[in-house]
Structures are given as structure tokens and as C-alpha cells.
Symmetry: C2
Subunit: 308 residues, 2 copies
């Protein structure tokens, strides 16, 4: 799957992933009104609003971007109905030729990690039949439980040509509380990064591994170090835009081949119409605002890479 991701990034000249993390507060009132009229102010109504909102943004940006990253928590909050909207979103994105990175941050041990991996990347066996339960192309994985937690995902990746991004250094202010703790002078995130590179050797695509890493845009110096430590690892970079990361901060997440990183923006794209810069679109044309925000983000990253 990493080969397809690289190919799509090159084809669309956009190392960009749009985070489909629809808080209800991001969704224009007219969409919520319509959904609530049909299904009431219920979990089903909210989930329908989420799905209509996503669909419009996907329709308006799919030709520009290689991938989307739905954040499953935003769907899980609406219970089973929300997960139906998650599944519809995944299916629709795949129909549109987009690569889907499920931001699920799962991680457990042994057969439990296998169950998560199968649920999201593999196929669940039922008697003589097999089914892809959610069917993403990549998922994010939490490494706190060590190899026992991660390797079941790696096995499913090998079997089904899928990929994962393992949390190494997250974008949030308190990520350093545990991740930056020094072990014989080496921060924990570096130890995790080295493990990611090692696990990745088992599961190589043409130039990059199916086993990627998450490194936040908000820590560019650490990104620079991790880039060198994991040369064949694709880095998924959250924290651009709303969380404070800028194109110029991100150049060191890329290798000299111009590849090796994919930058995520969620709120900055999907709720663009709420920003001053895109207010002229108005809430009715929220999806056009999202399209313009993708174009601007791509330009920002291209300029930064050109000036590297």
C-alpha cells in the first residue's frame, strides 16, 4: 500500500492528507438542520450530518489529494450510528480512489492486537467466509505495549499489503511527558523510532516501508533527527495549521527525493469556511472553502520545499 501512497502523492504533487475529523460544531447549520429534520436530534441524525458533510468535502477535494485520514473517535462518539458513518466514509473515499488512513491509535497484545488489525486492515473469518470489517488502507498504532502489540499489525500488513503509522513523537504540548524521557541519554521517542525502522525492514515496499511513523509538525527539531534515524520510514505529520505547524517547519521531515512525509491538516481544511481567510465562501459553500484551503496548503508546502 505504501507504493500506491507514494504514487498518488507524486501524481497529485501533494504530500497532503485531509483529516476527516468532523466535530458537530464544524458542520454548517443547514446540513445539521436537514439531518435533524429527517432523523431527529439523535445519534442517527448527527451521524447523517457528519456523513453529508464528509461527502461534500470529499467530492470537492478528491482530485487534489492522495489520501484522507478519518479520526475514528469523532465517529465513535455517536455510537454504532457514528461507526456506520465512518464505514460509509471509508467506502466512499475508496470508491473515489483515495487512500484511507484510519486514525484509530489502537494497540493491545497478541490476539487482541490481531483482532484490531484484522478489523481495520485484514479480513475477519466467519466459518468458510471472510469479510473486510472496516477496510482502511493504513491505520495508526500506539507502541506503548512493545513488539507484542505492534507485530500482529505487521503480520496483517504483510498478508494484505496494507500499512501502519506508529506513534513516535506526537504533536501535543504534553507529548514530552513520557516520550522525551531520556534513557541513557537517548529520548524514548528515538528508541521507539529505531524500533519502527527495525519493524519496517520486515515489510518493505519499493523505496519505503509499509511501517510508517507519526511525528508531530510541532517538533521540527525532533522531526529532523527522526528523519535521519528512519530513512525508509514514511512519516505522517499531524499538527499542521490549526495546531501551529507551518510549511517551513516541515522541510526536514522529507528526504532528498522529495518524498518520505505526508502532512495532515484536519480543522484547517474541513472547517476552512470558519476562518477569516475563507469567509467569503460562506457556510453554504463550505466545501469550496475546503478546496481552496487544500490548494493553499499545497502551495505552502511546495514553496517551503523549493526553498529548502
Amino acid at each position: 500500500m505504501i507504493n500506491q501512497l507514494v504514487e498518488q502523492i507524486q501524481k497529485k504533487e501533494a504530500p497532503i492528507v485531509v483529516g476527516l475529523d468532523p466535530m458537530l460544531s464544524y458542520i454548517p447549520d443547514f446540513i445539521k438542520k436537514e439531518a435533524f429534520e429527517e432523523f431527529g436530534e439523535t445519534l442517527k441524525g448527527a451521524s447523517n450530518a457528519v456523513w453529508q458533510f464528509n461527502k461534500a468535502i470529499i467530492d470537492s477535494t478528491a482530485d487534489l489529494i492522495p489520501a484522507v485520514k478519518p479520526q475514528i473517535a469523532m465517529y465513535e462518539q455517536f455510537g454504532v450510528e457514528g461507526l456506520i458513518a465512518f464505514q460509509k466514509t471509508v467506502d466512499y473515499c475508496k470508491e473515489k480512489g483515495l487512500i484511507v488512513i484510519g486514525d484509530i491509535k489502537r494497540g493491545d497484545i497478541g490476539s487482541t492486537s490481531t483482532a484490531y488489525a484484522v478489523a481495520h486492515l485484514g479480513e475477519t473469518k466467519v466459518g468458510s467466509k471472510s469479510y473486510a470489517a472496516f477496510g482502511e488502507d493504513f491505520v495508526t498504532v500506539n507502541p506503548y505495549l512493545g513488539s507484542d502489540g505492534v507485530l500482529p499489525f505487521v503480520e496483517v500488513c504483510k498478508e494484505h499489503q496494507k500499512g501502519i503509522f506508529i506513534l513516535v513523537k506526537t504533536s501535543n504540548p504534553s507529548s514530552g511527558e513520557f516520550q522525551d524521557q531520556k534513557v541513557d541519554g537517548t529520548p524514548l521517542y528515538e528508541l521507539v523510532g529505531r524500533k519502527v525502522a527495525e519493524w519496517g525492514e520486515q515489510c518493505m515496499g519499493d523505496k519505503y516501508s509499509e511501517i510508517g511513523a507519526v511525528v508531530g509538525a510541532t517538533y521540527p527539531e525532533m522531526g529532523k533527527i527522526l528523519r535521519k534515524l528512519m530513512p525508509k520510514t514514511y512519516i505522517l505529520v499531524p499538527g499542521y495549521g490549526a495546531q501551529g505547524g507551518k510549511g517551513a517547519d516541515l522541510v526536514h521531515y522529507f528526504n532528498s527525493d522529495g518524498l518520505g512525509a505526508i502532512i495532515n491538516s484536519s480543522r484547517g481544511i474541513i472547517a476552512a469556511y470558519k476562518q477569516e481567510a475563507y469567509q467569503k465562501f460562506g457556510s453554504q459553500c463550505f466545501a469550496d472553502a475546503s478546496r481552496q484551503a487544500v490548494i493553499d496548503m499545497r502551495e505552502d508546502i511546495h514553496s517551503a520545499l523549493a526553498a529548502k
Copy 2:
């Protein structure tokens, strides 16, 4: 919620939680056959088998135990249908007066962690209405992202009188890969344990905090240290039985008041009928085997505590 848990543990004289982690291979053929006849060899058929299996075990053990711990991965592998079975299981256990610990090991940042916390412990707002999406009483939380990841759960616990168990030292063989790394001579799991105690101060029940910890039965020496480090923290102890932990290993997870720990067994209880010791029950009476396994586990722990 921790007060209710303590009360139920005392009332039933059983510091025991039954892990409802139903692999299809644990479920007797006659249940699967019936479910597949009704719904086909589909995700719905499998989920129905899971639900029938759970229901029988709950009916047969509910009077003996204070709590259950469904492992959501085992439901997620069957997609939306599996999550319907998860929700039915949670609802049914609560009807039966059981406390439900959702073993979800979620953890993200800011509004995303809030969404998970709301989904499982709080109430999701939709317009003027609010709904409990999954409605567990406790959930397990992964601490790798630091305070930003954990505190949103703590806030929801405060608001809704619910609780969490944070992964400190997990029961799996490779848990030491990151968790045992020494920071200035102190292993990471101890740093996490101290943070758990600190977070817990914000959210106290009568004697114990709503913020608990997960410490595997397979590391009794570390359990002993962590017990002292987090005196007001309830410890959820996985790894008993099938993973190798025995009652005698667990005495140091308890405080001198006889409280402070709750021991989980999953496979050892729910698939008891497959063990030699309980073969006499046969697969038709699998739920009676589970009941006997609960009685035996309680006895093992009582004996160990009496000999302490």
C-alpha cells in the same frame, strides 16, 4: 463509580472481573450453528453468536461477580455488527447490576480524547439532546501521549462519576521494551505510575480514586512496588490464568485493607469448558463450566490472601 465497584467487590467477596473477550473459536459449535442458520456465515451471524455466548455466561455468573470487562477489539473485528453486540452486552450487564469496564485502551489528544471519553463514559450532545453512546462505567486508557491524552478522560470521569484504568505495566512478554526503560534509574512504568497517582488525586472516591491503573499479573515484583507508589489507586490486574498469573503472585497487588486490586480472567473463565479441569461439563453446559471456574478462581485468590 469506584465506590460502587468497591462495594460490589465486598458484597460478593470477589475481587474478580470476567473478561468478555469472545473469540469465535471459544464459542461452542451449537451456538455458531444456530446463529449461522439464522443470519448466514456473515458478520451479523458471528456477532449474534458472540451475543448469545456472552448472555449465557453473564446469566450463569452475574450473582458471583462484581464486574465484567468486554474487550472491544473482539467486537470491532466484526465491524458495525460486532459493535452492536458490544453495546447489547454492555446494556445487558448493566441491567444485571454488573459494573462494566470497557477494555478499549484508547488515548489521543485534546478534543479527540474527549470524544473517546464522551463516547464510552459520558454523554454526546446532539442539538438540545444528550445520549450515552456506549455507556460503560470504566474504560482502560493508554498514557503514551501524556496529560493531554489522559486529562480529557479525567474531566469526563469527574462530570459523570465514572472511572478509568490507565496502562502502567502491561502483562505481555515484551511490555518491558519501552515500559521498563530506565530514566535516571527509574523505570518508565514507575514514572507513569506516579502520574496516575497524581491525576487520581483530582478525582477521589471515598477511599480509592476513580483513576486506576493496569498492572499485569505476570510481573508480581513490579506490582509490589507500584502498589506502594499508588496507595489510593485501584489496580486492574490482567494476566491471571491463561497468561500464567496465579493467586499467590497477586497478594502484593492488594492493600492491607484487602482491597485495591481486581483480578481479570478472560479465556480461563469464558472458555473454561475447553480446559481439562472442566471437560465434564461438555460444550452444551459451557456456561456452568464458566460458573465453576469463577468459584475456583475466587477460592484461589481467597486462599492466597489468607496465607499472606
